[in-house]
């Protein structure tokens, strides 16, 4: 490894692997290392034995009643992929989509008045849904139509409002929507974790609603897809992309020293030093260059049955908006997957409950969600700090990603990736299919064509 690279990447979490892949495809020489012996860092999926070891101590094995350990691949960070979202665009941009198989998530539910309801998929369905009974259908319909028609560059669709300036709460007011409707739109459709968005420019919410609607249209059942064998396949797939384009991979590499001098980054591991123009890393590699900005609690629950009141769904998301959980500021999310995604033994279900911590007793905060799950066979709880870099890295050539947040999808993950990409290259990441990938696709098609 005693060589010079364009970029050294530390940590094989999803964000680092996407960046590594993007840079390699562009012809950059990349060295990618991880202190762990496995791919994925925080975004890995673990076998059952690994999970027991991590949470119950070294040498602990899963009890045999759970089935074989290798049938499990349990995500540490629960998320679903919005089927029209940024991650899908990145998977297509790089053609990494070919390494993976996906399943549509069966449904999305939202808690309201002590019951869970399916989130409607179309505005017509919305008007028929019992959920809509809670709010005034007519104004809601008008509002949905406005959002659907809205186009940035067509002032005629703006209804006389400047969404880039006007706060969302004023738009809601203009359409005369009541508190329940607003709650539903903000949390179950726009997927905001709290109510901060109400004060922000409305355009962001309108775009989120459009993204949700587009994602919903794709496969009808829900706006989400999920990769077979768990989310841990995602970083590995982007790592393969990087390797195919020449990236060098080393795991089990403790990083002893990183210094920045004579315009280069020097990274030392096991006595050897590699240099690079810049380094990309997750926050755990640079504790001095990041600051803590919150805590997230995640509880991995193993169940023997589907979640009650979800029509025996094999996979669902349940949103518990803050207002439905007493005095909270942040929503609680539940993501459920099962053996049909090859992430656990037959008959088992994995429900992961998560939220942003607000009190000194975080586990108590999850109770409203636990109450929806039915009997919990085993539970693994973690509280992690959320870190973000102090500077943008353009000065010290050290580009650090943020920790994974409590959102239920990958939009903020990808936004961070795009931001880092821009900080590194000075360019926006354009998510059309990369010319180098197109070239390869073409060669392969020619080949398959010429067989016959």
């Amino acid at each position: 490894m005693d060589e010079h690279y364009d970029c050294i990447v530390l940590g094989t979490g999803l964000k680092e692997c996407i960046i590594s892949g993007l840079l390699s495809v562009e012809g950059k020489k990349v060295l990618h290392m991880d202190r762990n012996g496995y791919y994925g860092g925080e975004s890995a999926s673990l076998s059952l034995d690994q999970l027991f070891e991590k949470f119950r101590g070294k040498g602990t094995k899963a009890p045999p009643t759970f089935g074989s350990s290798r049938e499990y691949s349990v995500d540490l960070i629960p998320k679903f992929i919005l089927s029209s979202g940024l991650l899908v665009k990145m998977l297509l941009h790089t053609d990494v989509v070919r390494y993976l198989e996906f399943k549509v998530v069966d449904g999305s539910y939202v808690k309201q008045s002590n019951k869970i309801h399916k989130v409607p998929s179309t505005d017509t369905e919305a008007l028929a849904s019992p959920l809509m009974g809670f709010f005034e259908k007519f104004s809601a319909k008008k509002f949905f139509a406005f959002v659907q028609d809205y186009e940035d560059d067509k002032p005629s669709t703006h209804n006389g409002m400047d969404l880039k300036k006007m706060p969302m709460k004023d738009v809601f007011k203009k359409f005369g929507l009541n508190a329940d409707t607003i709650d539903f739109i903000g949390h179950a459709v726009s997927l905001y974790l709290n109510d901060d968005y109400l004060e922000k420019p409305a355009i962001e919410t309108v775009n989120r609603m459009k993204l949700y609607a587009e994602s919903m249209l794709k496969y009808k059942k829900s706006p989400y897809i999920y990769p077979l064998y768990g989310l841990g396949e995602l970083p590995q797939s982007f790592a393969r992309l990087s390797a195919i384009y020449g990236g060098t991979y080393m795991l089990n590499k403790p990083i002893e020293k990183v210094t920045f001098n004579d315009g280069k980054v020097h990274v030392t591991s096991e006595g050897e030093t590699a240099t690079a123009d810049y380094v990309v890393a997750d926050p755990t590699y640079f504790p001095d260059k990041v600051k803590k900005s919150g805590r997230i609690i995640r509880a991995i629950c193993i169940l023997n049955a589907p979640i009650p009141n979800t029509s025996n769904s094999e996979s669902v998301q349940i949103i518990l908006p803050q207002k439905q959980c007493g005095n909270r500021k942040n929503d609680i999310y539940v993501g459920v997957i099962s053996s049909s995604h090859f992430v656990c033994a037959k008959g088992k279900f994995i429900a992961i409950v998560s939220t942003t911590v607000e009190t000194e007793n975080p586990e108590k905060e999850l109770e409203p969600a636990y109450n929806l799950l039915g009997p919990i066979v085993e539970k693994f709880v973690s509280v992690t700090d959320f870190y973000e870099p102090i500077t943008d890295g353009t000065q010290d050539k050290c580009f650090i990603s943020k920790s994974y947040d409590a959102t239920s999808h990958f939009e903020t993950t990808c936004a961070d990736v795009m931001d880092i990409y821009k900080r590194i290259t000075g360019k926006d990441l354009v998510l059309t299919i990369h010319p180098n990938i197109l070239q390869q696709q073409k060669e392969q098609q020619d080949e398959e064509g010429s067989e016959n």
Partner: protein, 196 residues
Amino acid sequence: MNNNNKIFQFKLVLLGEAAVGKSSLVLRFVRGHFLDYQESTIGAAFLAQTVCLNDTTVKFEIWDTAGQERYHTLAPMYYRGAQAAIVVYDIRSEDSFERAIKWVKELQRQGSPNIVIALAGNKLDLAAKRRVETAEAQQYAEENGLLFMETSAKTSQNVNELFVEIAKKLPKTPTTRPGSAQTQSPPPLPTSTTIL
């Protein structure tokens, strides 16, 4: 192709130490050619090739390693869901044979439960410099339920035969395992044209 000819698609992965000839075997099988100075693998994600048996067509989606094995950092996703694997060694190198045995163990531990594994002793054209005896490898293969063949990507000896034997051994029944054309409808992602 007539209508009662059934097509089955399988994911096949290649494993083995660097420079034993994994990519050369694939290129020989898929493109029918051989390069004396095959560049260390770069740029090939997948290749596809079909094998026709009597009444069925087997389409292999072939995954070649990407250099990640060099530092023993191959990602498990590489062989996850694979229904077949070819573990390659160089008959001139005992080390590469030892490494092949490790890969077989890894596949038996982590791979799909019914994966078909073939052991290939490559570079048969260089048998004068042989260091791994045929009988030894043959015996190991039998004890572990592997297909076994010695091959030469250079002369093409036994290359097609190897893939045909694998094709014959693969189960041709509708399967619930992912990665095969018969998997019950995990919908494909929309192609780029529909999404961008």
